[in-house]
């Protein structure tokens, strides 16, 4: 009787540990699955001028001039060579001011820089669902 109790206790302990292990592994896998599909180093992205982001510009981004900015909806509409797009700006969206045309350092910006007529590049958060902006680069033209 005591022997069977001991075996039961050992089995229960092993099952408990197995559950913990499964939970931990599942957590790791979920963490990994939750990571963005593109692990681009956004810090240096700031210094890349509009249209020069490797593997992004022209594929995962849209380049055009700002047609409208809606501060209430936090959306910006761009018109480029393709159909105009409207994207939402989220709390995660990074905004940079591209001053390379005037030979000045690029800056971290905000929505106040979204002025109609400015050439701008928007990288979408997701290649398939293009409604949210991952980052936005707003170019300052040479004349300004």
């Amino acid at each position: 009787m005591e022997a069977s109790d001991a075996i039961r206790r050992v089995l229960q302990m092993r099952i408990a540990r197995l559950r913990i292990a499964i939970a931990v592994v599942a957590t790791v896998l979920v963490m990994m699955a939750g990571q963005p599909s593109t692990l681009g180093h956004k810090a240096t992205e700031r210094y890349i001028p509009v249209g020069r982001s490797p593997g992004i510009s022209g594929t995962l981004s849209y380049i055009g001039t700002i047609q409208a900015y809606d501060p209430a909806q936090r959306t910006v509409t761009l018109k480029g060579e393709a159909e105009p797009v409207t994207v939402s700006i989220t709390e995660r969206t990074l905004i940079w001011i591209d001053q390379s045309k005037i030979k000045k350092t690029n800056l971290v910006g905000d929505t106040s820089a979204l002025l109609v007529g400015r050439r701008t590049e928007v990288k979408f958060e997701n290649a398939d669902r293009r409604q949210f902006a991952d980052w936005i680069k707003i170019e300052i033209p040479p004349s300004q």
Partner: protein, 440 residues
């Protein structure tokens, strides 16, 4: 005069042929050659550094304090010491010279004084085996080293912005120029061509008893557990029966006590790893090339391969998220527990696989027969000898390797005996290999 010219002409032809790449024709050979030229010579109109400044071929495409100590003071690596515009917040010269650490601004450039990381330089060998992940390529120590699409191709752009600028304004077209699409293609092809192109298949039929035992511990998922995250001593993990590719883990390296960088400069902030803000994870490096590319871990915190293996027996690892996962998988709740002799055995295994890779590479380079390839072949033979002798392993193989290095060196300087010397060097290399592993 005409007679002399006639007699000498075949010699000139021979000499001219000597530097042509040999071996089977690679369809990418032209692109790789272009990439090599860019990698070692192109400054991108920046501060004078090239990719090869931090990834020199003669030091396994990485730098360490011993190599740094051989460089002249005007080497572009020491830009922060010689260029007033880069004197502050571009590098930490003390930590660079003492520990081989490079300054990175992973989490942005807005607070250069306080927001930076000090990291070692990962080698660029065996990249075809070590950067693929289902979520996208992993480059650099935290796996997110490249801008744009995060690919190896894009990595060069981030590197130019971080390490090549003339000033900290980092203005494209002023402080540097960005690589063109063609240059990115060439750089990628060259980097992918370096070193091992395929994974090992463990277990190997090793001859040395200690290395054999080390391999057994390495591949035992209930003891060493190394093979879980370093499948076949590479950089890819297999978790819960799934291949997850080149993964990131928080192994607790940042929690190690008494780290050299902190002892030398207490102002160095902790490194938060992948992402902004970071999640504390770092990318898994390949181990085949480890023994001759130390110091180890993202912050060069451990000098020896034995120390690197011993790390996994310590509290920092076993209390880390990765250590806890392993403990959760263990019937006794143990992460990794190894005794000193077992640590040495695992390190011996890693030394031997590294030496075997050096020998493979040296033989391949000898077959190319160019001046550059002979120089590198000699360096590979010397590396193998150093890696084995550093662990007190295979003394007769060490002697063969030192002979091979000498013969290759002589071959590089000989005109008439080159072929014979290369042939003799190949014999010595094969003898050394035969001492390490059974012919498969």
């Amino acid at each position: 005069m005409a007679l002399v010219a006639t007699l000498c002409f075949p010699l000139f032809l021979l000499a001219a042929c000597d530097d042509q790449p040999g071996g089977p024709s690679d369809p990418n050979a032209e692109l790789i050659a272009k990439g090599r030229e860019i990698f070692f010579n192109e400054t991108f109109d920046g501060n004078g550094r090239t990719c090869g400044t931090c990834h020199p071929a003669e030091n396994n495409f990485t730098i360490d304090p011993a190599f740094i100590a051989t460089l002249p003071d005007d080497d572009p690596l020491f830009m922060a010491e010689t260029n007033a515009a880069l004197a502050r917040n571009f590098e930490n010269p003390v930590l660079m010279r003492a520990l081989g650490l490079i300054l990175e601004n992973q989490d942005g450039f807005d607070d250069l004084e306080n927001n930076f990381n000090m990291r070692g330089v990962p080698h660029t060998l065996a990249l075809p085996t070590s950067i693929a992940n289902p979520q996208g390529p992993r480059t650099g120590w935290s796996g997110d080293g490249a801008p744009g699409d995060g690919s190896l191709r894009s990595f060069a752009i981030g590197a130019v912005i971080q390490h090549f600028p003339k000033t900290l304004g980092r203005v494209a077209g002023v402080d540097f120029r960005l690589p063109t699409e063609e240059e990115l293609d060439a750089l990628e092809a060259f980097q992918l061509s370096l070193g091992r192109q395929t994974e090992l298949s463990l277990p190997l039929p090793l001859k040395g008893e200690v290395a054999q035992r080390g391999q057994a511990i390495f591949t035992d998922d209930t003891l060493g557990k190394c093979n879980i995250c370093h499948q076949n001593a590479g950089a890819n993990a297999r978790l819960a029966g799934q291949d997850v590719g080149n993964a990131n883990f928080n192994t607790g390296v940042e929690d190690l006590p008494d780290q050299s960088a902190d002892l030398i400069d207490p102002r160095v902030p902790p490194d938060d790893g992948l992402g902004t803000p970071g999640d504390g994870t770092f990318n898994t490096p390949t181990l085949v090339e480890a023994a001759d590319t130390g110091p180890f871990f993202h912050n060069n915190s451990v000098e020896t391969i034995e120390g690197a293996v011993a790390f996994y027996d310590g509290e920092s690892f076993n209390n880390s998220p990765a250590g806890q996962v392993l403990a959760g998988l263990d019937p006794n709740g143990v992460g990794i527990r190894l005794d000193a002799t077992q640590i040495v055995a695992v390190a011996a295994f890693l030394r031997v696989v590294n030496a075997l890779e050096n020998i493979r590479e040296s033989i391949a380079l000898l077959n190319e027969r160019t001046k550059t390839s002979l120089r590198q072949a000699a360096a590979e033979a010397e590396d193998a000898a150093m890696v084995l002798s550093g662990g007190g392993l295979h003394p007769s193989a060490v002697a063969n390797l030192r002979d091979a290095r000498r013969l290759i060196h002589d071959a590089g300087r000989s005109f008439f005996s080159k072929t014979r010397l290369i042939r003799e060097a190949l014999v010595e290399l094969k003898k050394a290999r035969a001492d390490l592993i059974q012919d498969s």
